[in-house]
């Protein structure tokens, strides 16, 4: 009796599991469209190059004060560890403005739709700079997320994914022109350009100036 029951159930369950596993394997490969085929070494190098460009931009914006000795700039190397990239070193910028010190600490690359983020930390608070698509003006990522219903829409979405290069969440540089922007304090969503005035205001905010 027992063996009869098992014989009846096992083949059916086994067939289901193979089918489900086939679909699972297929989905994992489909999923690579979203992120698994990214060249992480290149991502890291581009991020570090963009970090250098941010520091050059800030040095330039503060040149009047650094040349007169009112602001000092120095750098130190810090360790970063990101899930896909692993451990690497990046430069942290340190601004000395009289008795105040402001640290520009790299937070990492590929964060919530941005190519990178730098924390600006002063004695009175913290603000953030983000590396975003130059044309992007909102903190919200420009990505459309859909849930397929049945095989037809599943196929349509696969085609759409393969032909859609947008999605800043999956963006891997190339054609996108990046720019450093000032992240607003929540719940704001507007990204501001990193201008001279914007930088001055940011530095005053984090130092209570």
């Amino acid at each position: 009796m027992m063996s009869g029951a098992i014989e009846w159930h096992l083949p059916k369950r086994k067939t289901m599991e193979v089918k489900e596993f086939d679909e699972f394997v297929k989905r994992q490969h489909d999923g690579t469209v979203d992120g698994d085929h990214i060249d992480w070494s290149r991502e890291r190098d581009e991020w570090l190059a963009q970090l250098d460009s941010l520091y050059s931009q800030i040095e330039s914006l503060l040149s009047r004060y650094t040349s007169s000795g009112q602001i000092e700039i120095r750098y130190k190397l810090i360790d970063l560890n990101e899930e896909e990239i692993g451990s690497y070193q990046a430069r942290q910028m340190i601004l000395r403005i009289g008795r105040q010190e402001v640290d520009l600490v790299p937070a990492g690359t590929r964060l919530i739709g941005f190519k990178g983020r730098v924390e600006v930390i002063g004695s009175a608070g913290k603000a953030s700079l983000a590396l975003a698509n130059k044309d992007r003006h909102s903190t919200l990522p420009q990505v459309a997320i859909h849930i397929p219903v049945g095989p037809k829409t599943r196929q349509l979405m696969k085609i759409r994914n393969e032909h859609t290069s947008d999605s800043e969440l999956v963006a891997s540089s190339g054609k996108i022109e990046w720019a450093w922007k000032i992240l607003p304090r929540p719940p704001g969503r507007n990204l501001d350009e990193l201008t001279r005035e914007g930088l001055f205001q940011l530095l005053m905010e984090v130092t209570n100036g």
Binding site: N81, E83, G108, I112, L140, I145, I147, L169, P186, P187
Partner: protein, 181 residues
């Protein structure tokens, strides 16, 4: 979007959470301002021995607490969505997978292994966002379980970055069931 169920009137939305957090931070700054009358008089009000804490320590701790609250709300919204999709028997692929999970284990759904896995596999375009959530929930687990180990988070998290993440989640993922809670 971004309504958070089951909380006090202060915490009914992402915007409310941000307002509370930044008001708390600003209050601390003023409380510890050397020019504030409270800055010195507060020392007379503690009944026990005092711990040496800098104002920055209070602000950091406030940020961690606000971060934990934000992450627990995020978890609640995913759990509510899971329950809604199971209960309403929706026909999309994600809901079907959820129902299969519920059938196998009605009393034990795992946020990270069941819910996030399914969203990552069955919601087109959600892979990267779910990856961000997984990292954030390692941070949440560290916060919620006593912070007694050094977490390998892969990135830094704070209230600001978690707000960005939550805002992106509520704005882009078709989460269901929140309005019913």
């Amino acid at each position: 979007m971004g309504e958070i169920p089951g909380n006090s009137s202060l915490f009914t939305s992402l915007e409310g959470a941000a307002q509370y957090h930044y008001d708390a931070v600003e209050s601390l700054k003023r409380y510890f301002d050397p020019n504030s009358p409270y800055s010195l008089s507060r020392l007379d009000t503690y009944p026990g021995p005092r711990v040496a804490l800098r104002p920055a320590d209070y602000i950091e701790e406030t940020g961690l607490r606000s971060s934990l609250a934000m992450l627990t709300w995020l978890e609640a919204t995913f759990q509510l969505d899971y329950q809604y999709r199971c209960r309403k028997r929706l026909k999309d692929d994600l809901s079907r997978v959820f129902r299969a999970t519920y059938k196998r284990r009605p009393d034990s759904v795992s946020l990270e292994k069941d819910i996030f896995d399914a969203w990552s596999s069955y919601a087109s375009g959600a892979h990267q966002l779910i990856g961000e959530l997984r990292s954030a929930f390692k941070f949440r687990n560290w916060l919620a379980h006593g912070r007694y180990w050094t977490p390998k988070l892969g990135r830094t998290h704070d209230f600001g970055s978690l707000y960005l993440l939550a805002d992106a989640v509520f704005s882009t993922l078709p989460l269901r069931g929140i309005e019913e809670a």
